[in-house]
């Protein structure tokens, strides 16, 4: 699993001594030695955000925008810049370069822009860069994400308890690591209480396409799924669940107003504290390029349970969450087979955070996502 990061290992070794890195990561992945980023006075500071979607999407980008608002509140004299709906193309390079020429001290990309981003980071070593869902570290580039697989597992437990047919449905975007980790964690949670549960995935090739997500939800419901989950930035399939009298869980934000009876919970992300902390470090001159996966309860969590979730279900699922929070319970333990029956994680082993972040195969019982 570590090999997924090997692109940068050589570079990291070349750069020599490891600076303090994310506590969760194995030693070989610790960050490169930081170029120095001297302290900046608050009134001179410029903090920039590049978003993948519109800030009013009520989902992913909205959550990140709340982070920017928190930064504005904490550092009222600092200047903040943002650009919405940056495509995954050379336009991204142009946008981030623009931030650089506007004398930004710290630039956040709230999605993975890969080489389009690195074009800019390489040419501006004096500027600190962060990439959400990134995959490599450089002397001035760090990345951050959050352990969404834990709250997803908790919601999966609730789904297993509430589903009558044992057929769960999932509206996915693309066969990417976030979707693999999300579908797998969801089904593992469900199977912990209902071992015969299966998960059918429909991929719609977009993070945001209300029409397609709605049709995918209808198709899944028609096929007998009585609990829908997904990784969409909008509430299309929740509204279908409400019409059909089945249940649904969401991503990013509280969406219960779209389907109060169907709403079970959501994987809510809250990056306010993280963004404020990063900006504070940059101002103080102590910012370092690190890889951070925010743990359960600190950046990502399940939402308050929906009004139709039985108390017993909420209690049982929350007990699992409590075990994760206090006892460090890791449910991603062997034996785990992939959906071709091959043992991928032998009994007695658990998957590390990095393994989970880089998950790229489906577990037994998940159908439709590809490999």
């Amino acid at each position: 699993m570590k090999s997924a990061l090997s692109i940068d290992r050589r570079r990291l070794l070349g750069l020599g001594t490891a600076a303090g890195a994310g506590l969760l990561l194995p030693p070989s992945l610790r960050g490169a030695q930081a170029a120095s980023f001297p302290a900046v006075a608050e009134k001179d500071a410029v903090i920039a955000f590049g978003h993948v979607g519109p800030v009013n999407d009520e989902g992913w980008t909205w959550s990140h925008d709340q982070g920017m608002k928190a930064v504005q509140a904490a550092f009222p004299k600092a200047k903040t810049l943002f650009v919405e709906s940056i495509p995954y193309s050379a336009d991204a390079t142009r946008t981030f370069r623009q931030f650089a020429t506007q004398k930004a001290n710290l630039i956040f990309a709230t999605s993975q822009y890969g080489d389009f981003y690195k074009d800019v980071t390489k040419r501006n070593r004096g500027i600190a860069f962060m990439e959400c869902n990134g995959s490599s570290l450089e002397e001035n580039l760090g990345w951050y994400y959050f352990a969404h697989w834990y709250p997803t597992y908790v919601i999966g437990v609730a789904a297993g308890l509430m589903s009558k047919t044992g057929k769960l449905g999932y509206v996915a975007s693309f066969p990417v690591t976030s979707c693999y980790a999300s579908t797998n964690a969801f089904l593992m949670g469900a199977r912990s209480v209902k071992p015969e549960a299966t998960l059918q995935v429909v991929t719609i090739n977009s993070w945001f396409d209300p029409q397609a997500a709605t049709q995918a939800g209808v198709a899944l419901a028609n096929n007998g799924c009585d609990f829908l989950f997904g990784i969409m930035d909008e509430a299309g399939y929740l509204q279908i669940a409400e019409q059909r009298g089945i249940k649904a869980a969401m991503w990013n934000t509280d969406m219960r107003r779209f389907g109060p009876k169907a709403y079970v919970s959501s994987v809510v992300i809250d990056l306010k504290a993280y963004y404020v902390d990063q900006v504070a470090k940059r101002l103080a001159g102590t910012w370092e390029p690190k890889a951070t996966i925010l743990p359960l309860g600190k950046g990502v969590d399940r939402d308050v349970w929906g009004e139709t979730v039985p108390e017993a279900v909420a209690k049982q699922a929350d007990a699992v969450r409590e075990k994760m929070l206090s006892g460090g319970f890791n449910p991603f333990a062997g034996e785990i087979r992939d959906n071709k029956g091959k043992v991928r994680v032998p009994a007695g082993q658990t998957m590390s955070e990095m393994d989970l972040y880089k998950w790229d195969w489906s577990i037994e019982g998940v159908a439709g996502l590809g490999a």
């Binding site: 519109p54 009013n56 999407d57 009520e58 909205w62 449905g169 066969p175 059918q200 995935v201 429909v202 991929t203 719609i204 090739n205 977009s206 945001f208 396409d209 209300p210 029409q211 397609a212 709605t214 049709q215 995918a216 209808v218 198709a219 899944l220 028609n222 096929n223 799924c225 909008e234 509430a235 299309g236 509204q239 107003r257 779209f258 159908a367 439709g368 996502l369 590809g370």
Partner: protein, 311 residues
């Protein structure tokens, strides 16, 4: 049978958006004006629908308001293309940019809140009990009946069974000849372009009030362009345009149903179906049956501004 009904039910809903927009485009293109602003008009209509409903809680009013906004922007487009004779392709693209941008900006307060009221299904007695097609076609909301039955038949009758329709088509085929025989070319073009745009606005409201009952930026997601393509495939005829929209809806639904039922076909192939279908529909008939070519021929004066004084 259950699968067929399921597919058909989704297809009817999804195809309705395309059908209404395509009907509007048929009107405009038949009088010789290609309107590439459908995508933008749909965005404006979608927003108008949701904004009206959040103020009045009446989906019918929302739909009518969207028709009105579509009409208004249609007049603007007709002013540029018919009266001022600007390039239709460029104006259409400008209208798309204007519409999507304006809707995104003006729609901020409505983002992320569900529609307060939506069109509810009104089953038609007897017909809705038919096997297979009954629940799919005849247990829908009244907009579906309007889009699939009333409008296309009305437009077909108007276009092909009345003298006015003959005039209309003459304007699209040969405006100079039409002008010489006393047909008011400019007026016909202007009003049908505006009317067509109004239907595109209605298609947007159908989207937010019946299909995906909420507003978000990008909710149209390219369906306006597909509607434009469908018109070409349908040979610029209202009945075939609606049929084509339904076929397209079925193909799209097949992709989702196939994935949901775990058919042993790669999801990527299933998601490709609508696009493969579009290519096949446009190329196959013309290549396979050359005699059909005249059926698919575009109005001869399509996209050409008419100048009475220049020949």
């Amino acid at each position: 049978m259950e699968i067929v009904t399921g597919i058909l039910a989704t297809a009817v809903l999804a195809g309705g958006v395309l059908a209404l927009a395509a009907l509007g485009e048929v009107l405009a293109e038949r009088v010789g004006v290609v309107n590439l602003g459908v995508e933008g008009l749909m965005a404006l209509g979608a927003l108008t629908g949701i904004a009206t409903v959040s103020a009045t809680a009446s989906p019918t009013l929302g739909f009518v308001a969207a028709l009105g906004v579509g009409f208004l922007f249609g007049c603007l487009f007709a002013l540029a293309t018919v009266l001022l004779r600007a390039d239709q392709v460029l104006c259409g693209l400008a209208l798309t940019l204007l519409g999507t941008g304006l809707a995104a900006t003006a729609g901020r307060p409505y983002a992320g809140s569900p529609a307060k009221a939506t069109f509810e299904p009104v089953p038609i007695p007897y017909l809705s009990e038919l096997p297979v097609v009954g629940s799919a076609l005849f247990s829908q909301n009244w907009l579906v009946y309007l889009i699939y039955f009333i409008l296309p038949i009305a437009i077909h009758w108007l276009m092909f069974k009345t003298r006015h329709g003959l005039n209309m088509r003459a304007v699209g085929e040969n405006p100079a000849a039409a002008d010489a025989s006393g047909i008011p070319v400019t007026a016909i073009r202007f009003w049908y372009v505006a009317l067509g745009a109004s239907l595109a606005g209605g298609a947007g409201a159908y989207l937010t009030l019946a299909f995906v009952p909420s507003w978000s930026e990008g909710v149209v997601a390219g369906r306006g362009w597909i509607a434009v393509a469908l018109v070409i495939f349908a040979g610029y005829r209202p009945l075939t345009a609606v049929a084509a929209a339904l076929v397209f809806g079925v193909i799209t639904a097949l992709g989702f149903v196939g994935q949901a039922r775990g058919w042993p076909v790669a999801p990527a192939i299933l998601s490709m179906l609508p696009y493969l279908g579009t290519i096949a529909f446009i190329i196959l008939p013309v290549v396979a049956w050359r005699r059909l070519k005249p059926f698919f021929a575009e109005p001869a004066a399509l996209a050409r501004p008419y100048h009475r004084d220049v020949r």
